[in-house]
Structure formats: structure tokens, C-alpha cells
């Protein structure tokens, strides 16, 4: 099935995008605000979606709002704060059953679109500011989220690698901002951030599902026509920086399984013509259960439970992460580097390349079977100024050659190594002697 992304401009840097797919029983509408990642403003901006989620002028009470969602057949409303390249993305989305399943002819597509516009554009304010109660509660929640990163050791280790690798660069800024900035949030600063977002953000609305996108579009167009817009955020990608010296850091916590995370910079831009060869190279390296990393570091050497590589084409980086036994760190690091060198020298079989491409093609085609996956896919496309359907992307991989993969792999350079491991009792002279 060929997808067509329907994109229209419904305001000053406000876009409505839709994908129609009649096999689904639901629709998903997501409103995304792109702002520049800023050390100073990240926390104030991050809190905004959480406050907006709690209610609006017309429905100021959270229980009442949740009851409305229940009445809409269990409509699912949520918010998200994420990072894409050098941008902070603030999103609110709602997923509802399509109109055709409503037992009393309710117009769920129109109702849910209207609800989103009310929550986003007609917030509950007191004397022109977010209420003290809402701000205090959500501020505490934001602080809790920032602190709780440590609960998931795998994610925590990846976050630490990110901070090490991109120190003093934009990419080191956390999506929720810093703890000190979160603690300093006030009603005034949060409300100001909200106003800035409405004025300056690049706004991308995505509608995916079987329902009537035109109805939704008209409602959003009408709502956003009243908003004043200026100094619109223009997405620019920082220049590639070659790593100078490999940075290393080890951290000690009370944990059973150690985490090894390695960051590599790629000499590439997301719009490069050979970006697909780089994607394939990384997948061959560590993207499938028959990748070089899985087969060697896990299966042959039994060093770990997981060892994989992912490619971020916008940040131009490759991340390898692995859960290992403390004593195996040096062995694992060596093997991870050796496997990359093997690809860089072309010392792999054509059959491995064929299998990697087959696996990637399979995964791209499967994207179209889930609303959330389609949404993420197209948001990535829109961010990069593209509109390829997943099936089209799959086609582009089919003719990638071994030479292209080798060339692309040689653009991958080790930048940083981060190791999270268990605390040791104080020892004299040992390399893991206590802190």
C-alpha cells in the first residue's frame, strides 16, 4: 500500500499533516512544538505540556477531564517531552476510536480535535498565570523524573555517555533541563515559557488513521488562526566535529550488572546521499540478532546479555551499549572496536550484508501496521524536510553495495567510553580501587 503524506500550511509555520489508512479502527492526533534546546529554558518549557494535560478553561478539573476521555470511549490523552537533534520537542496527543464505532453517533474525531485545541490554547489560568497548585505539583513531578533517570540503569548509562560525549555542546542538554533549573520554576516563568512556545515554535500536527482528517484540519486551522507568531524557530543542525581524543569515564553505584556505553561520531549529515549505506553499516554492526556485535560479543564470547548499536542520523552519532560483568570490561571494549574495524576493512561476507538489508526492509514495512510507529516515522521525515513512506525507504536499501557500506563504516570514529559499575571495597593498588 503506498502512503501519501498530505501536508498543508494552516498558519505561520503551523503545518497539518495527515496519513489516511482505512485498516485501523482508531485515529491518532499529535500536536508537536519544536523549540531550540536551550540550557536556560529547557526545564521551564518541559513543564508546560504536563500542566496543560491537567485541564483547560472549560474543564479545569483533572477528574472531570479524565471522565470526558472515558466518555469518548476510553480516549487516550498524553504528553511527551523529547529531543530530536538540537531541538526540544513538546507534544500532546490523543488516540480515539473512530466515529464509525461510536454507539450513539458521537463525532469523536471532531470532539478530540477540539479538546486538543482547548487544552493547548485555552489553558486554565489565574490572574493570567498557571495556578500555583498546578505549577508546584508538576514541578515536583519534573524534579522526580529528572532524579528517577537513575532507576533504569541502562537509560542512565546512555544519558551519562551523552553528557560525556557532547560536553559543552547542545546535544548534552537533557530534554527536561537541569535539576537546578527545574527547582527554580515559578508560575511566572512557566507561563512565560508557554507564551514563548506558542509564539515561536515550529508547529507540526500529525493525523494518522482511518478517520476524517479534513474535519480535524479545519478545527486546528480555526484555532491556530488566533495565535500571534513571531521569531519562529528555524531548525539548524550543528557542524560535524571530529573527535580529538577518546574520552573515558567510570562511575560506581550499587548495582549487579555493569553497563558499558560507547559513543562514536559519524562524518555525515542526515541529508547525505550515502546516509543509507551508513544505516546499513550500523545495522550490520549491531542492529539485528545476527549482527557482528550480537553474534560475537554475546553469543561467541558470552560476555553480555545485550550488545547493540543504534544510529542517530540527525546527531551524526552511533551508540553501542552493553550489559556486562565488571571484569569483562576490557575484553568487551576490545571486541566492540575490533568488530567495527572488521567492517571498515570489508572483512565480512556478502551474505551477512544481504541478511542485514533483508531484516531492515522487513522492519520498515512493518511500521505501517501501528499508528504510533507511523506517527514517529513521519515526524522524523518532516523534521528532515522529507516525506518518504516507509515502503519507499525500504526500496532504497535494496541496492546498497559492500563497497558503499565499507566506505560509510570508515566515517565512524570512536569518541567516548562510559562505564557504570558496582562499588568495590577499598583495595590497595587495584585498578578498580574505590573512588
Amino acid at each position: 500500500m503506498a502512503y501519501q503524506l498530505n501536508r498543508s500550511c494552516i498558519g505561520n509555520a503551523v503545518y497539518f499533516n495527515s496519513i489516511s489508512d482505512t485498516k485501523f479502527k482508531s485515529n491518532r492526533i499529535c500536536v508537536n512544538f519544536f523549540m531550540e534546546l536551550s540550557e536556560e529554558d529547557a526545564a521551564n518549557r518541559a513543564i508546560v505540556p504536563f500542566i496543560l494535560r491537567k485541564g483547560c478553561k472549560e474543564i479545569p478539573d483533572i477528574s472531570a477531564l479524565n471522565k470526558v476521555l472515558n466518555t469518548m470511549y476510553g480516549a487516550y490523552l498524553d504528553v511527551d517531552v523529547s529531543r530530536v537533534g538540537p531541538s526540544q520537542v513538546l507534544s500532546m496527543f490523543i488516540q480515539t476510536l473512530d466515529d464509525k464505532f461510536a454507539l450513539e453517533g458521537e463525532k469523536l474525531t471532531a470532539e478530540s480535535s477540539r479538546l486538543l485545541t482547548q487544552l493547548l490554547l485555552q489553558p486554565k489560568l489565574q490572574n493570567g498565570l498557571f495556578t500555583e497548585q498546578d505549577v508546584q505539583l508538576e514541578k515536583q513531578y519534573l524534579i522526580d523524573i529528572i532524579q528517577s533517570e537513575i532507576n533504569d540503569k541502562r537509560k542512565y548509562a546512555i544519558g551519562q555517555l551523552n553528557r560525556l560525549m557532547f560536553k559543552n555542546e547542545k546535544y548534552a542538554i537533557d530534554r527536561y533541563g537541569s535539576m537546578e533549573n527545574a527547582k527554580a520554576i515559578t508560575s511566572r516563568s512557566a507561563t512565560d515559557a508557554y507564551k514563548d512556545i506558542l509564539k515561536q515554535a515550529r508547529i507540526e500536527i500529525l493525523f494518522v488513521g482511518c478517520g476524517d482528517a479534513e474535519t480535524a484540519k479545519a478545527i486546528f486551522q480555526n484555532a491556530f488562526s488566533t495565535i500571534e507568531r513571531e521569531n519562529i524557530y528555524n531548525i539548524t543542525i550543528p557542524e560535524f566535529k571530529m573527535p580529538e581524543k577518546v574520552k573515558e569515564e567510570t562511575e560506581y553505584l550499587d548495582i549487579a550488572q555493569s553497563k558499558l556505553v560507547m559513543g562514536f561520531r559519524t562524518q555525515s549529515h542526515f541529508s547525505d546521499t550515502d546516509i543509507n549505506a551508513l544505516r546499513v553499516a550500523v545495522s550490520l554492526y549491531g542492529g539485528t540478532p545476527v549482527s557482528r556485535l550480537f553474534t560475537n560479543v554475546r553469543e561467541k564470547m558470552s560476555l553480555c546479555y545485550y550488545c547493540s548499536a543504534i544510529f542517530d542520523r540527525i546527531k551524526s552519532m552511533v551508540l553501542v551499549d552493553s550489559g556486562i560483568e565488571k571484569d569483562n570490561k576490557e575484553k568487551a571494549v576490545s571486541e566492540i572496536i575490533r568488530q567495527l574495524e572488521i567492517i571498515q576493512k570489508g572483512e565480512f561476507e556478502q551474505s551477512q550484508l544481504d541478511e542485514t538489508i533483508l531484516s531492515m526492509v522487513n522492519r520498515y514495512k512493518t511500521i505501517c501496521d501501528t499508528l504510533g510507529d507511523i506517527d514517529s516515522w513521519y515526524l522524523g521525515q518532516i523534521y528532515c524536510g522529507e516525506s518518504l513512506a516507509p515502503q519507499e525507504q525500504a526500496e532504497r536499501l535494496k541496492n546498497i553495495t559492500k563497497e558503499q557500506v565499507v566506505q560509510a563504516a570508515n566515517k565512524i570514529h570512536l569518541d567516548s567510553i562510559y562505564f557504570l559499575t558496582g562499588k568495590e571495597k577499598a583495595e590497595c593498588g587495584g585498578e578498580d580501587a574505590a573512588l
Binding site: 489508512d21 476510553g74 528517577s148 501501528t370
Partner: protein
């Protein structure tokens, strides 16, 4: 071949259930317009099945904890290569999982379906365990166990289950412990395999974009007919009461995480769906996001958005679980227990019930959007003897009297366990 169509008028959907001559039951749910197919080949054997006897044996054999999971890992390996290498040639994305009451081997693909299905049916029927291959897995599974030991949500849940249940094996970690898996050898693996991986004890479920005729062709080619094995899993005696009401553990977390469980009487298969639907409605009414208690605790800063509830049910166990994070989990527990008492006394109101029922109706229907969800739910449905449409139909027909009745009879604050993971001192 016995074949039946299981249909639902409300959704306008149907699936096929048939018994293949080999002894295996096959469920097929073609979905128009989808690109992928999802297939699971599963056995009605999980981490709770640690004591069993087969054929004419008189004594039960008890096996070490974690063996079902160990078996799942080892089955991927053949004498000449492993299943992932075979799937690499068809491009399918493969995996497996072991849960409390079943083990499933699966793949998802958007092409080469027949070839991938061939691989699936083939390798699961072809066990190969040697001393060397079994020992090699110790390291990998050891790592997996240690990874979960660091997971506060997982630990919070299992600490709770350990104190809810005196004897039932559901309280033991699915992967076992590093000590228990050290007792596993090739002979034990073969014994468990031969007992539980009999086609009469298994099911094949396929959903999405595929041709049912191809499924039957591959089944005819690959399935080895098997005689039913007389298999009896020991019914563990489990008293109604709990072990103790509170348990804590320290891990490096930023704030306390908790899991609270209400021990309920297990439901037999015939009433399992009804029980689960009623419990889900009760939980939603008492602690769900539209409940007065949720609002009060949220506004007092006692809980945050990481607060949820679920019904945890299977063969011989049923627990209503409430999880979240809080600076004062004891206060949360006390508030919940008070609310349970209050709602038992006053009853859930009609309007609240209708509002919740409507949201569940929508949520159950939305489940039918997803290939993986449909395929996976067919597995449990088959093993427990119900149809995947039963949840939608049950929620459409339950009454407020049933909900209030269950709340009054089954929910007892004396049978609640609170498990807390506290931050370790730095």
C-alpha cells in the same frame, strides 16, 4: 480436520480455529490491509510448572526454578546453527518469551512468511542440548538475572508476590536465581521438553497479512504427529491468607517505588474473563484516574503520573496490583485501604460504573488494531478456553451488582501486601 469459525458481530471480525492431524491446534486471524504477519508457537508451560509427573509415574518430579526460561534460550540452538541464523535468510524478526504460565516462540515478517513459519515449527520441535551448550548459557542467563536484580519495578513486584504467596511458584522469579540455574543439565532439559512440548499441549497462532492455506501446507510438511502424553502438574496447596503485609528492600532509586497486591481467590478458566473484567472495573473505580482518591493523592503530592493498576491472573493465582512511586508509600497504602473499606460500604455509583464501562469498551476494541496484540491474546485465550472477543462482550454485559458484589466478597484489607523499594544510603 475439526475446524470452527469464531466470529463477533459487534466488531465484524472472525478467526479460524482448527485441530491439525498432528495434534496441534492452530488459530488464524487474517487481517486485511496489514503488511505484517505475526506468528507464535507456544506451549502451556511456564515458570510456575516446577512439579509434574508424566505417563504412569506415581511421584512428582520437582525441577529447579528457571528451567522453563532456560529451555526457551536453548531451543534456539541446533546442532549445526541457531534459529536466528536461519531467520536472517528470510528477514523475519524473531524472539521468544517465558512467562508464568506459557512459553512462546515468535516471529514477525512482511515477506517470506511460509519460509519463516517453516523455521519456527522446525526448530521448536528439534531440541538439542549438550553439556557444553547448557554450560555456555549459564553466563548469558546469569547476566539477564543480574540485570533484573537491578530493576526496581521488577524487584518491587516479586518481593510483593513472595509475601502474598506461601507456596505457589508464581512468587519465584521466572528466570530463577544464579544458584537454581546452576543445577540445570541437559537431562533435566530433555525431561521437561518431552513432558511439556507435546503438540497436544501447544498452539500455533497467526495474525495479520498471511495466507491460511500456506499455514496448513507448512503444518503438513513440518509437524511431527504426536500422541498425547499424560501430564499432570502438581496442584500446589496455597492458603487464602498472606505471608506478611509489608516488605522493603534498598536499591539505588531516587525515590521509593511500591507495589501493593490484594490477594484474591484464583478463578477457574470458565470465570477467568469475568473475574478479570470485574477486577479491572473495581480498580478503576477505586484508584483509577477518574477516582476521587487518585485526585486527592495527586494533589497532596503523595503520588504522581507513574501510578497504575492491573489484574494479575493465571493458573491458580489472582492478585489485584497497584503500583507507583511515592515519598510515603505507607500513607498511600493506608489511603487505599480506607478507600476500599469506604467503597465496599457505599458501593460504586451507577454513573461511575457506566463511565468506566464505556472506556473499557473503547480500549478493548482498540486492541484489535494491532497484529501483535491479536496474535498474542489468541495464545492465552486458547490455553484458558475462551475467545479473544470475550472481553468486549463481557464488559458490554456486566452489571453494577456484579461489580459491587465482587468488591464486597473478595477484597479484604487483611489480604493486602505492600512492597517498597527504598533508596539506598549514598
Amino acid at each position: 480436520m475439526e475446524k470452527k469459525i469464531i466470529a463477533n458481530k459487534r466488531l465484524g471480525e472472525e478467526y479460524i480455529q482448527l485441530k491439525h492431524p498432528s495434534g496441534l491446534t492452530i488459530l488464524m486471524y487474517p487481517m486485511k490491509g496489514y503488511s505484517s504477519a505475526y506468528a507464535l508457537f507456544a506451549t502451556n508451560y511456564g515458570s510456575i510448572d516446577i512439579s509434574f509427573k508424566t505417563g504412569e509415574e506415581t511421584e512428582y518430579t520437582r525441577v529447579p526454578a528457571g528451567i522453563a526460561h532456560y529451555l526457551e534460550h536453548k531451543l534456539f540452538e541446533n546442532e549445526d546453527c541457531d534459529a536466528f541464523e536461519k531467520y536472517a535468510k528470510t528477514g523475519a524478526s524473531a524472539n521468544a518469551f517465558t512467562s508464568f504460565d506459557k512459553t512462546a516462540y515468535l516471529f514477525s515478517c512482511s515477506g517470506n512468511f511460509k519460509e519463516s513459519l517453516h523455521i519456527l515449527l522446525d526448530f521448536v520441535q528439534d531440541p538439542y542440548f549438550t553439556k557444553e551448550t547448557v554450560e555456555k548459557e549459564q553466563g548469558i542467563i546469569g547476566q539477564e538475572i543480574r540485570m533484573y536484580d537491578d530493576n526496581p519495578g521488577w524487584r518491587s513486584l516479586f518481593n510483593m508476590l513472595e509475601n502474598v504467596f506461601h507456596n505457589h511458584p508464581v512468587k519465584t522469579d521466572i528466570a530463577g536465581t544464579v544458584e537454581s540455574i546452576s543445577k540445570i543439565d541437559a537431562d533435566l532439559l530433555y525431561r521437561c521438553y518431552n513432558a511439556f512440548y507435546n503438540l497436544h499441549n501447544m498452539v500455533l497462532c497467526v495474525a495479520g497479512n498471511f495466507n491460511p492455506d500456506e499455514v496448513l501446507q507448512v503444518a503438513d510438511e513440518v509437524l511431527k504427529p504426536s500422541k498425547p502424553v499424560k501430564l499432570e502438574v502438581e496442584q500446589i496447596q496455597e492458603p487464602d491468607d498472606i505471608v506478611k503485609p509489608r516488605i522493603t528492600q534498598k536499591l539505588s532509586v531516587s525515590m521509593p517505588i511500591f507495589a501493593m497486591g490484594y490477594k484474591l481467590q484464583p478463578e477457574p478458566p470458565e470465570t477467568l474473563v469475568l473475574g478479570q473484567v470485574l477486577d479491572a472495573i473495581i480498580l478503576e473505580a477505586v484508584v483509577g484516574e477518574t477516582s476521587p482518591l487518585y485526585k486527592k493523592m495527586y494533589e497532596e503530592g503523595l503520588i504522581n503520573s507513574n501510578f497504575s493498576s492491573e489484574v494479575f491472573a493465571g493458573r491458580g493465582y489472582m492478585v489485584s496490583i497497584i503500583e507507583g512511586e511515592s515519598k510515603d508509600p505507607d500513607a498511600v497504602c493506608k489511603a487505599i485501604q480506607s478507600e476500599i473499606s469506604r467503597v465496599k460500604q457505599e458501593g460504586i455509583e451507577q454513573q461511575t460504573f457506566e463511565n468506566i464501562r464505556r472506556s473499557f469498551y473503547g480500549r478493548y476494541i482498540k486492541g484489535f488494531n494491532d497484529v501483535e496484540e491479536i496474535a498474542t491474546s489468541m495464545v492465552s485465550a486458547y490455553f484458558y478456553g475462551y475467545s479473544i472477543f470475550d472481553f468486549v462482550e463481557t464488559v458490554a454485559s456486566v452489571t453494577l451488582e456484579q461489580v459491587n458484589g465482587r468488591l464486597r466478597q473478595k477484597y479484604d484489607n487483611e489480604k493486602a501486601v505492600l512492597s517498597i523499594i527504598e533508596p539506598a544510603e549514598k
